[in-house]
Structures are given as structure tokens and as C-alpha cells.
């Protein structure tokens, strides 16, 4: 099912959810 | 999901049209309409219609190549094979650039302006940002934030493009890795809970021992 696969691809592309420097500092 | 819902009717419409005719010119026209449509960004269903794949080797096989390009390719791919492909209408050119942004977002969450300007043939930041705002963010295919200081576009969400069979393995790997990490995380949390319970029990026992000892000493005194 192409539609499902596209949704899964979009989902995977969300990971990691945040990558900003500001986030890294707060995460640490 | 929203994206797919919006596209579902269009995909159905174009696939039905393609199934209903075997005339190459009519199919070429359907391909042109599909690649021009402002709300359609998925083409693998149309590609898999038997009548469409039969266009290979016909006088309109370039339309089939164009459909392939829209399903899997980018603006740069078009430029390098422009000689073999029909010339693009403005709407098609815009669509292909939008799809190129989705492809770039597949590999990186942070897209530098220079890379984007190179990929999209845009000469200045204003034009790039207008394109990203009006054609990408406002059309719902991506969500993100523009950072002028770092000259980059941070992608928070990007719609999925059509998938090539060879991409499936990496997707399965990514899902497996995510699943494994999640399992380890849950195990780690379980262990922490167990440790917390043990410590709590030990602390409670120790407290009771101390209280019992205090009582004993009081009685003795």
C-alpha cells in the first residue's frame, strides 16, 4: 500500500524529533 | 495523514482515468494533469496502472519518464535529463521543486540555505524563503522554522514521497532500531522502578529497625 508506506516514511523522517543546539543544552 | 487524506481522492480519480483508456495521447494528457495538480504529490499508484507502464517504448514514453521523475526524482535530475523529457509547465516546475524539498528533508532535518538555493535554482534568500513559506509550508507538505542567523531551514515535519523498493530495507532497519531502543528504554525504566522499590523497602526496614531500637533503649532507661 503506497499510501501507508509514504506515511511510514514521513513518520521516520520525524526522528529525532528535535535537533537544535538550544534543545541539546536543555536536554543535557 | 492529512496529506494522504487530501490526496486519496485525486489519486483515485487519476488512476481511474488511466485505467479507462489505453490511448497513449490520452494517457500522456492524464500524466500532464496529474503532475500539474497543485494538491497531488504522490504518483506511484498512477505509475502502477498497467496502461501507464505500457507507454514504455511508445511515442509518448517521455511522459512515462516524466511520471517516474515526479514519483522519485528531483529538480536536479530533471535538469540533467531535460533533453529526453518534455518541457515543464510552470506548475510542473514548481511541483518538482516542492518534491525536491521533500527529498532533501528525507536525509537532513536541518537544510542549509545554500544547499536549498543550489538545488532549487534560486538566487536569493527572499525568493527561497517565499518559496518555502508559500509553496511548501502553506501547502502543508512541510512544517518547520526558518533561521536566518544560521541560514538554514529546520524541518519538523515533511510529507512522505513515493518509495522505491530499495528504500524498504532502510525503513525496516530504522523501525527495528527504533523498536530495539524503545525496548531497551522500557527495560531500563523497569530496572529503575525495581531499584527504587528495593531502595524504598530497604529504607523502610532500616527506619523500623531504628524505631524498634529507640523503643528498646527507652524501656531499658
Amino acid at each position: 500500500d503506497n499510501s501507508l508506506l509514504r506515511q511510514v516514511l514521513s513518520l521516520l523522517r520525524r526522528l529525532p524529533t528535535i535537533e537544535s543546539e538550544k534543545f541539546q543544552d536543555e536536554f543535557l | 495523514m492529512e496529506m494522504e487524506k487530501r490526496q486519496a481522492d485525486l489519486i483515485e480519480q487519476f488512476t481511474q482515468q488511466a485505467e479507462a483508456t489505453s490511448d497513449p495521447r490520452a494517457l500522456a494528457s492524464i500524466i500532464s494533469d496529474a503532475t500539474c495538480h497543485p494538491s497531488l504529490f504522490a504518483f506511484s499508484e498512477i505509475l502502477s496502472v498497467p496502461n501507464i507502464s505500457k507507454l514504455d517504448g511508445t511515442q509518448v514514453s517521455s511522459s512515462l519518464d516524466l511520471l517516474h521523475l515526479f514519483a522519485y526524482g528531483t529538480w536536479n535530475d530533471y535538469k540533467s535529463s531535460a533533453g529526453h523529457l518534455p518541457s515543464l509547465l510552470p506548475n510542473q516546475a514548481k511541483k518538482l521543486k516542492q518534491l525536491s524539498v521533500l527529498t532533501l528533508a528525507e536525509t537532513n532535518k536541518v537544510l542549509p540555505y545554500d544547499k536549498l538555493m543550489e538545488e532549487l535554482d534560486v538566487s536569493n534568500v527572499r525568493e527561497l524563503e517565499d518559496f518555502l513559506i508559500n509553496e511548501c509550508m502553506y501547502s502543508g507538505i512541510v512544517r518547520g522554522k526558518l533561521d536566518q542567523l544560521r541560514r538554514c531551514f529546520e524541518v519538523q515535519f515533511a510529507a512522505g514521497r513515493d518509495i522505491r523498493p530499495e528504500q524498504l530495507n532502510s525503513m525496516i532497519q530504522a523501525l527495528s532500531s527504533w523498536l530495539t531502543t524503545s525496548d531497551h528504554m522500557l527495560q531500563s525504566i523497569q530496572e529503575k522502578i525495581k531499584w527504587a522499590d528495593t531502595m524504598s523497602e530497604a529504607s523502610r526496614k532500616h527506619k523500623k529497625e531504628v524505631e524498634d531500637r529507640v523503643e528498646e533503649v527507652k524501656k531499658t532507661l
Binding site: D1, T17 | M1, L146
Partner: protein, 303 residues
């Protein structure tokens, strides 16, 4: 005094028939409503004040109208006369609109649009009039200063089903639901629906409409950008960079927009209301929702 009153009322009627509104209002305002000699009941006083205010408003004279509406406000609280009370509300809303207190005017127009009774006393309330009041509420809210209060009122209006039938609905949708930057063609189309005072020139050489649109677009830009240079912001808003900086700084100072300005680098940083970790939570929630949607989709397709 009785005879003077009658003469004044007759003359005012004549002026009204000639559409000389302000003259009619001046004629009526000469009636001494606080006379110690004659006892005038509150309903009469209220009706005169409201009538005078309405006449001044026909000539868009908000200042004179306001004086009489303020007098009326002491009397309306005890009034049982529904038609007069409604006329008072409409006058008050129009005065706020003319004085460019757009958010307050919007709330009052909206209140009027929600009247359920279509017959009040002998007066029939035209449904078109209620629609006009609703449309006026939307227009005033769009023109109001951009910020959290305006956003709340816009959201209320957007959720009102009746708004979807208004001519102005597409722009409301763009402004509210989509929080989008409005482009010149859209602004020009909206401008056609406005009254002269809503397009008036302000001391800073922007019109009322310009300022509202610039502030709206600035707030929309803050949703799209982490930071932006003054020059690019000016280009985006269609104004000089210095003016963009000034408007942005005022909005930040008035707490209508979160952000900070680095004058050395000539850049404005837009802060999100939520901290990074909270944003992370939100992103994770979005991810889980997307995952759920996929699983539901798979179930519905029998996978």
C-alpha cells in the same frame, strides 16, 4: 420649556427629513433634559440621548455621539425598553469602531449579532442586520492590534458557524485558522469591505488597515521564523527595515509578541512561548499521534 421642546423636536424632524443629521442632533441637544422645572422620565431622556447619538453617527461624528451615549449609559441600566437598549448597544459599538477601539467594538457587534428575538416590541430585526453586525465584528477583530486577545476573539468568531456564510470568511480563515501572512491581493480585497475611517491615515503615515496587516503579518512571521534580519523582515512586510524594527519592538514591549531584538546584529529573535523541552514533549505527542493514525489506517485496510 414645553413649547420650546415641541419646536425643537419639530425642527429636528425637518432636518432629519432633509438628511441634515448633525443639525437635527444639535436641535435636539438643546432640549434641557435635566430641567428642574419639568419632570422628564428616564425612558424619555434615554430615547433622546440615543436619538441624538444616532444622528451624530450618521455623519460619523463619534466625539459628539459619545457625549450623549455616555449620558445614556447612566439610564440604560434601569431601562426595560428593549428597542432602546438595542439601539444604545448599536450606537456604542459604532462609536468604539469610529474611535478605532476595534477589539471592544468587535465584542459589542458580536453580542448584537447573537440576538435571538427577531421581533422586539414593534420593531422587526432584519436577519441581514444581524449578519451585518457579525461581519462588522469580524472586520473589527481583523483590524484590532495583533496579540493574544485578538487571537482569542478571532478563534471565537471562526468557530461560529454563521461566519462561514460571510463574504469576509476566506480572509478570516486565512487569518485565524491558518495564521498566514496576508499578501497584497488579499489585503486589497479586504480593503474594499472597509469604511473610510477604517482606512484612515495615522500619524506614522500608515493607514489603520496597513498597521493592522503589518502587525498581523509580523505575528505570522514569528510562527515561521526562529529569527530574521530587519532588512528581510522589512522586505517581507513591504516596509522600511527601521519601521519593521519599531513595530516589532512595540509589539514585544506590549507583550503581544514574544521575542528579543539584537540591534548590533540587526536581527530579531522570535521566542516560542514554550521551552525547548516542552516543545520536545509536543513533538513526541505529534509523533505518537502520527503513529496511531498509521496503525488505524492499517487496521482499516485489513493489514
Amino acid at each position: 420649556e414645553e413649547q420650546v421642546l415641541i419646536i425643537r423636536e419639530k425642527l429636528a424632524e425637518l432636518y432629519e427629513s432633509e438628511q441634515e443629521w448633525s443639525q437635527a442632533a444639535k436641535m435636539l441637544s438643546g432640549i434641557d433634559l435635566d430641567s428642574g422645572i419639568r419632570m422628564l422620565d428616564d425612558a424619555y431622556k434615554l430615547s433622546k440621548c440615543v436619538h441624538i447619538a444616532r444622528l451624530y453617527l450618521e455623519d460619523d461624528d463619534a466625539v459628539s455621539a459619545e457625549a450623549f451615549i455616555n449620558k445614556a449609559s447612566f439610564l440604560v441600566t434601569t431601562s426595560q425598553h428593549e428597542v432602546l437598549n438595542l439601539q444604545y448597544k448599536v450606537c456604542y459599538a459604532r462609536i468604539l469602531d469610529l474611535k478605532r477601539k476595534f477589539l471592544e467594538a468587535a465584542l459589542r457587534y458580536y453580542d448584537i449579532s447573537q440576538i435571538e428575538k427577531l421581533q422586539i416590541g414593534d420593531e422587526e430585526i432584519d436577519e441581514d442586520a444581524l449578519e451585518q453586525a457579525l461581519s462588522a465584528a469580524v472586520t473589527c477583530t481583523i483590524l484590532a492590534a495583533a496579540g493574544p486577545q485578538r487571537s482569542r476573539v478571532l478563534a471565537t468568531l471562526y468557530k461560529d458557524e454563521r461566519c462561514s456564510k460571510l463574504k469576509i470568511y476566506p480572509i478570516l480563515q486565512k487569518v485565524v485558522y491558518l495564521e498566514r501572512i496576508l499578501r497584497k491581493p488579499e489585503i486589497d480585497a479586504f480593503s474594499e469591505e472597509l469604511k473610510p475611517h477604517q482606512k484612515a491615515l495615522l500619524p506614522d503615515n500608515f493607514t489603520v488597515l496597513d498597521r493592522a496587516m503589518i502587525e498581523h503579518n509580523l505575528l505570522s512571521a514569528s510562527k515561521l521564523y526562529t529569527n530574521i534580519s530587519f532588512e528581510e523582515l522589512g522586505a517581507l512586510l513591504g516596509i522600511p527595515p527601521q519601521k519593521a524594527e519599531k513595530i516589532a519592538s512595540r509589539m514585544i514591549y506590549e507583550d503581544r509578541m514574544r521575542g528579543s531584538i539584537d540591534q548590533v546584529e540587526a536581527i530579531i529573535h522570535f521566542e516560542d512561548d514554550t521551552e525547548e523541552l516542552q516543545q520536545w514533549d509536543q513533538q513526541i505527542a505529534g509523533l505518537c499521534q502520527a503513529l496511531n493514525d498509521i496503525l488505524d489506517c492499517m487496521t482499516s485496510k485489513g493489514v
